[in-house]
Symmetry: D2
Subunit: 257 residues, 4 copies
């Protein structure tokens, strides 16, 4: 059979990323408390393609995933990137895994336990000898509006917000540590289960602790600035306003001047 | 060219619905205040297919849409359904249009005006001589939790909720009327714009008017039961809980005994 | 603390379903080949609410999930439904779990193995003494257009299609069996990995085996009609047409006369 | 009423973007053929916030939208950005509008006309005296796999692909011109309506013109490199493979070395 992908290309255009996108695959990720957690990843794998080759070999990406079946976690990502580079004759390799990640959490008063789900992403990038690792967490929290509290006789509008923290790591960081920073920066964490004593607690805590979308991203930036294991960070908060049909949004990126 | 679609089928299986799905098209809908409103529909058009025909003629659905270009609204749906029935040699025709619909709304104190968007659906079904028309609105509202208010010294968790009302009409009903019922059934409507005096008003109104997800659907059912122009109704509310990462949900369907 | 939920309600409106929606939770499901499979469920749990009670107790749904942690699978659903009925003083209980489900599949010529993901749903409904179980699978397949093949000198447009089969079971049915029926009904199954010999095989197989969206649902209906363990079925196919920007769609429902 | 937003902030963290997100609003956009087109925008509006202010004034963003009601199009974006800068006392203003955009298109043989929908985005950024304008189009096309065609006796797998072109403009560029480049770079454009003579034409044209995902982005890059009105471009293609359940993906970004 003729190998079309290996044909010479004359357009003189190199491709930054080419590969497979949205591959679903069972993966195992490191868990700070339980060592390992089984979850389901949505995976993108890309390499660069020099200008003189017509195509990459898509099936090899999936072959590499298969080879690492049951060992597909953060510890093996460097090996996977090296293997992508070698088998696809590339100088750059790029892998992203997004997955639901569960942490057991105690309700604040009853101490009843439940599982909270966070959407996490782990990205590895290989460029020649250099490797980069980027992690991202999306953390649901409660935000209580300081303005609404201040101007109203009673009550204050509040809502679920999604906080996103993305960091390029110099040293390893646990998802758990970023999640804790996000939850502490908001009016209150959210929980999968709250008994009535807990509901009273989080309602009053939120009201005592009102936060604008601007406050949430700033509180996180203050904590990020203390961490030495981070090269850059990107922080977002999106508040699904309970009094509007649109979101309030803020972001801070340490790479912007 | 051979007409594959008109081949005889021997599987003896008739098809309930066959046609085109998720066609985007500019449409005009009736507007209670301004007579007509330009919007963008996502359109499904189906007919039944008797057991002895192999296929329907997909391009004719779009030809019918094209013919009614600029006249594609609720008033012409009956004509469109009849034309589907005739041109596709069917006994049943089914058309659904979902679209963003805008209503100008005044803030409660400042009376500043803004446009609120509601997702509306209009469905027409033709079965022989009979025609059925079903409308659906999705209305964002605020819900304040009565339990949280009762048990807490101050504050109460609240959130955006999506209320859905779907009705089979006996007589014509305006989207505006269903939207008003939904907004009155909740702790407060939501708005596209609120000045500080308005924010104070809706915060206090919501706190004075706490509603469980159960209360919202029941308040609507009470109003629906008074309407004579309705054959059946289906009511849902989904509250995007500000203290949890999941929703509270309730539904009432008048067809369930 | 005052129990607001237990207050008497005077609106005389009973609620069909009330509970929690979109709870993410790790679950274990039965696997025909490997006995058990770890995956992540998106779970809805509802009960009915008689007209005289104001509210249900949302936290108890999650407490029940927690109790069955690590035993949350199809075998325990009956126990869970009974526990919902008892703890929430309801006459009806309803649970839906949707999850990615993986099956190892061999490429047709190279026999290289890979994991294919299918979206599956398992629903249990308890009404007094009666229990109902409904399963649903969403199966991606290839469809090659018979008309395009017939009228063209060479080639034929083809695309990914999503086939959905939902059945009310009289007796237990494996997801695997429904998936096999769906894949056999289309022009070709899809695979996570195909080497060049396999790609040649599935290309030619698809071209030899063209199927309209109507053919796919009918082929499945013919197989469903043979099964004795099914009370009713609903079959859909949506073809993401490669020559259009909308879908071709067909459905057959055995409950429609 | 106390103005909480104007309070002094001591965290010494400036915010890159803060504002409103996902506001739905009717807009009018420039249309190359018909001068103007009514559509529905999803709008984000952000400003920067210096470190010493606690909060921005969210309602003013919507007031600005209201003021430009019926004049909310590309021509007025510069005025809107200046007004955001002034009214929110900011040095930077950022506005993004994403909307469905319709173009009348003729089928290749029958010349029957229909409306094709494209998702377009228009972004304006103001930084002091400088203004930047970025446009983005998402174009559905057909891709036929060259490898599948080469190795198979007959047939070739093909599928719908989404091509995205994003450019920073030096001079004004029509969405129509980018869409044409995208459609010419693929195996075939897609259409809202095709009669049988057209279906034969596009099937054969696609087969005569097979394109890898790599070919599509390269063909576009070659055209982009000729345009003088562009400062940078980002090109993506995602092919929803008809033989797999994942996508093939490629991107080229002129800013990467």
């Amino acid at each position: 059979m003729k190998d079309i992908q290996n044909q010479t290309d004359n357009r003189k255009v190199s491709i930054n990323k080419v590969g497979v996108k949205d591959v679903k695959y069972p993966i195992i990720v490191l868990d700070k408390k339980n060592k390992a957690q089984h979850t389901i990843g949505t995976i993108n794998m890309y390499v660069n393609l020099p200008h003189n080759f017509r195509g990459t070999h898509m099936s090899r990406f999936i072959e590499i995933l298969n080879k690492y079946h049951n060992r597909l976690h953060i510890d093996t990502m460097s090996d996977i990137l090296r293997e992508m580079e070698t088998r696809l004759t590339a100088e750059e390799a790029h892998m992203e895994m997004t997955f639901p990640y569960f942490i057991e959490k105690e309700a604040p008063v009853s101490h009843i336990k439940s599982l909270m789900e966070y959407e996490c992403t782990y990205t590895g990038i290989l460029k020649g000898a250099a490797e980069e690792y980027i992690i991202k967490v999306k953390v649901p929290v409660t935000s209580v509006c300081p303005c609404s509290k201040e101007i109203s006789e009673y009550g204050a509008h509040n809502q679920r917000s999604h906080v996103t923290i993305e960091v390029k790591m110099k040293n390893f960081i646990w998802f758990e540590d970023l999640i804790e920073i996000a939850e502490n920066a908001a009016s209150s964490p959210v929980y999968a289960i709250l008994k009535r004593v807990d509901e009273k607690f989080v309602t009053e805590k939120g009201y005592d602790n009102p936060m604008f979308v601007e406050d949430i991203v700033r509180n996180i930036a203050v904590e990020m600035n203390k961490l030495e294991s981070i090269e850059w960070y990107h922080i977002e908060s999106e508040n699904f306003e309970s009094i509007h049909n649109h979101s309030a949004y803020a972001c801070i990126d340490s790479r912007d001047e």
